[in-house]
């Protein structure tokens, strides 16, 4: 560890802290404000889009209509992404002449990108044509992120709209939210950011792969592609699907420490801003900051532990005549070092991004535990764009409920009663995720067609399986990438996990929005539990940790925890 490493981590956090307000204000203006930014340009584009897509922007939807639109759109997108991959050989922008992607892999990839997971069972540079990368994968990076933001605003409206403002029991219009998130937020930032990335060395072309003769006279084929335009939205939309197999560790995706820093900022930009926007919608900014700080506490703890653990020597290399002052460098890049790598790892798994700039599979047991736990907490530590906020708000309702039980009063949140129906939805939301993860992992860990993909022995093999199941269920998309995921079993089972982890969890979220939106306001009384102070931050973090710990601790203890003790006993497997 070095002082530079800690300064980097703290500097990063301060920048996110500073950006949360401005970004939150901007998001609030876009989605809830009367006067939208840049009406001449963006407003005109928005109106044109509604005309072309035949959407009436003033027609709001009930939660069922909203969910229906989202589901119809998403399932259609899966078909399109699947089709483009299968047919890529016959389509333009395929200078390498890649054949159609095999059916199971194409299905897995289609689900993966539509669910904002970006789990990658394929190496990008030897599988996907430029057309698929641009028009299927990067396209989904925009729209799946937009759909996540849409659902977050739908829930926020459900919780914050006063009965007097509520227009019937509606929570917004899916098509309007989706369009606005793209036109006002994702696309403009991507255009500016992509050009910045190119200036730093991220490539952007549609040339065939270039073959050169190296300084020593050997041949080297170098993959090309429209990388910058995809890289930027991959971080901003917390998608995480790399153009290249090595993802953000590839120098063509992430060439300098500066691009690394900017990419990290982009991952948290919208999830952090959304907490502030939520506070404004609630009419009390502290309601948003409470959510922010609960996330921040969990994030900083993970980042610190991960940095500490990876600064230690790799146990597999113990006793060899090596100078290990730089820490565990297996699977890490020199330009980022351990600090820039572990900070990225903590961010990408806290937000359900899943881009990686180092190979988590080669982390020390405790270093690798942090990304895994971040995912297992349910992707609520800033979380995916939208998904993080709505996930944390579900936990907020749970925390209020627990507080209500302790004092024996009907719980209320933002002046609305939480009743049995909402708690059923909350419970469903909270149970679906571990159900998906543990069933997938347990099944895979006992059948030969699951285990055969494992590439590390002993408890680390179980960690690979657990990580894959969590990553899919949590819609993260990063991996202990040694696992050979391109098999029938893994392609299909993880696709199902990703679908369930996205859509089965959005359903109760929207249902809560729908049932809360038309509830009567209750003025806060002396018995109302305050949800805007330090006490609530503690209660909320506690709820997240306890639920995560109770659910996953047994599985974790058989994976990374046992491995830690084996490693420190000096054994290798």
């Amino acid at each position: 560890m070095s002082i530079y490493g800690w300064v980097q981590i703290i500097l990063y956090f301060l920048i996110i802290l500073a950006l949360t307000g401005p970004v939150g204000n901007y998001l609030y203006r876009v989605f809830e404000g009367e006067r939208k930014p840049l009406p001449r340009v963006l407003g005109a584009a928005e109106r044109l889009a509604y005309r072309m897509v035949m959407v009436d922007k003033d027609r709001e939807q009930t939660w069922k209509e909203y969910a229906f639109s989202l589901f119809v759109f998403s399932f259609f997108c899966i078909l399109v992404v699947y089709g483009l991959q299968r047919l890529q050989y016959f389509l333009p922008f395929n200078p390498q002449g890649f054949k159609g992607v095999p059916p199971q892999l194409a299905f897995n990839t289609a689900v993966s990108f539509v669910t904002n997971t970006n789990w990658q069972a394929y190496p990008g540079e030897s599988t996907m044509s430029y057309l698929v990368q641009m028009a299927a994968l990067a396209w989904q990076n925009f729209v799946s992120a937009g759909a996540g933001i849409a659902v977050a605003f739908a829930l926020a409206r459900g919780l914050t709209r006063k009965a007097s403002q509520a227009r019937g029991a509606t929570i917004g219009n899916f098509w309007v939210d989706l369009t606005r998130s793209i036109i006002y937020v994702l696309l403009p930032l991507s255009i500016v950011g992509a050009l910045f990335l190119v200036s730093q060395g991220v490539i952007q072309n549609i040339h065939p792969y270039r073959e050169i003769t190296t300084l020593e006279g050997a041949r080297q084929a170098i993959a090309m592609g429209p990388v910058a335009s995809q890289e930027i939205i991959k971080e901003l939309g917390t998608n995480g699907g790399g153009f290249f197999n090595a993802n953000s560790s590839h120098p063509f995706e992430n060439p300098t420490p500066l691009t690394n820093f900017i990419e990290m900022v982009l991952i948290f930009l919208i999830p952090a801003g959304l907490t502030y926007a939520y506070g404004r919608m609630a009419g009390n900014k502290r309601q948003g900051w409470v959510i922010f700080w609960a996330m921040a506490v969990l994030f900083m703890a993970g980042a610190a532990v991960c940095y500490y653990a990876e600064s230690r020597p790799n146990p597999a290399l113990a006793g060899l005549p090596l100078d290990q002052a730089t820490g565990n460098m297996e699977g890490k890049e020199v330009r980022f070092g351990v600090a820039g790598s572990t900070l990225f790892a903590a961010i990408t798994t806290a937000a359900s991004c899943g881009a990686v700039n180092s190979m988590h599979d080669s982390y020390t047991p405790l270093g690798g535990l942090v990304p895994l736990v971040n995912i297992m907490l349910g992707e609520v530590v800033f979380g995916g764009v939208g998904a993080g906020l709505y996930g944390m708000l579900i936990y907020a309702i749970l925390a209020v409920f627990i507080a209500g039980l302790m004092v024996g009063r009907t719980p209320e949140y933002l002046g609305k009663k939480i009743e049995a129906r909402e708690m059923q939805y909350v419970t469903a939301y909270i149970l679906i995720f571990p159900f998906i993860v543990l069933i997938t992992a347990a099944w895979s860990a006992i059948v030969p067609y699951g285990i055969s993909s494992v590439t590390n022995g002993g408890p680390h093999g179980l960690s690979q399986i657990l990580y894959a199941a969590s990553s899919a269920g949590g819609n993260n998309g990063s991996a202990f990438a040694g696992l050979n995921a391109n098999t029938s079993w893994w392609n299909i089972v993880l696709a199902i996990a990703m679908l369930a982890g996205r859509f089965l969890m959005i359903l109760p979220v929207l249902a809560i929005a729908g049932s809360m939106v038309s509830k009567k306001d209750i003025p806060p009384g002396p018995g109302t539990f305050p949800t805007e102070g330090f006490l609530f931050v503690a209660l909320l973090t506690g709820a997240v940790i306890i639920v995560g710990a109770l659910t996953f601790f047994p599985a974790l203890s058989l994976g990374p925890v046992v491995e830690h003790f084996i490693a420190h006993a000096g054994r290798s497997l």
Partner: protein
């Protein structure tokens, strides 16, 4: 439920899909292509560099294989079957209790020892570990300095002069905090060739320039 209309949603879905693929999937990336080609042409194409004769010898952002003792060698690579495959990036993904990782490191140590009999006893760990991309173009300063005795002997020049070239090619932390100090192996080797003659002709050139 009466307001749910599959027909209406399908129409919106279809139109939105066509419109968004056209704008986000085709027009946006191709516009970025054009603009970045105008503003940052070299970077957009891969930051290729050339030797003194103007022959392109590789991307400054990607590692390439070096085996000549008169050149600095990059970190080991797990990219592709034989390493340094810039069309097949990736790491080893070997875990912290992996016997395979330990054996591989021990083999690397034996090789490095044989190639660098005059180097210090403790080898900087990055020289026996593979990077995440397999294309890490950099070495840390200690990782480069460790190789100096071999290069100095192969080129028949003093270690100080090689070390000075390393120092001249040092890249510091961005803003004084971000990232780690490092040297780019390809640029460093090109600098060696410029200063002390091309590696292939080292016996003559190295002596002459002295």
């Amino acid at each position: 439920m009466k307001n749910i209309s599959l027909k209406r949603d399908l129409a919106c879905t279809l139109l939105f899909t066509v419109l968004s693929i056209a704008v986000l999937g085709i027009i946006y990336p191709l516009c970025i292509n054009t603009v970045s080609g105008l503003l940052f042409n070299s970077q957009a194409r891969g930051s290729f560099t050339a030797d003194e004769s103007g022959r392109p010898v590789g991307s400054t952002l990607l590692a390439q294989r070096f085996t000549d003792p008169a050149y600095f060698h990059p970190r080991p690579s797990a990219a592709g079957g034989n390493g340094y495959d810039a069309a097949s990036s990736g790491g080893s993904n070997l875990g912290p209790t992996s016997e395979k990782l330990r054996r591989r490191a021990a083999d690397e140590i034996a090789r490095l020892r044989k190639e660098n009999p005059h180097a210090p006893p403790y080898i900087p760990v990055e020289l026996v570990t593979t990077s995440a991309s397999g294309l890490d173009p950099h070495l840390t300063i200690p990782g480069a300095l460790w190789q100096v005795p071999r290069i100095a002997r192969a080129r028949h020049i003093s270690e100080e002069r090689v070390a000075a070239t390393v120092e001249a090619n040092r890249e510091g932390r961005t803003w004084g905090v971000l990232g780690e100090p490092r040297v780019n192996v390809l640029l460093l080797n090109l600098a060696l060739d410029r200063q002390f003659g091309k590696a292939g002709q080292r016996a003559i050139m190295g002596d002459k320039r002295r």
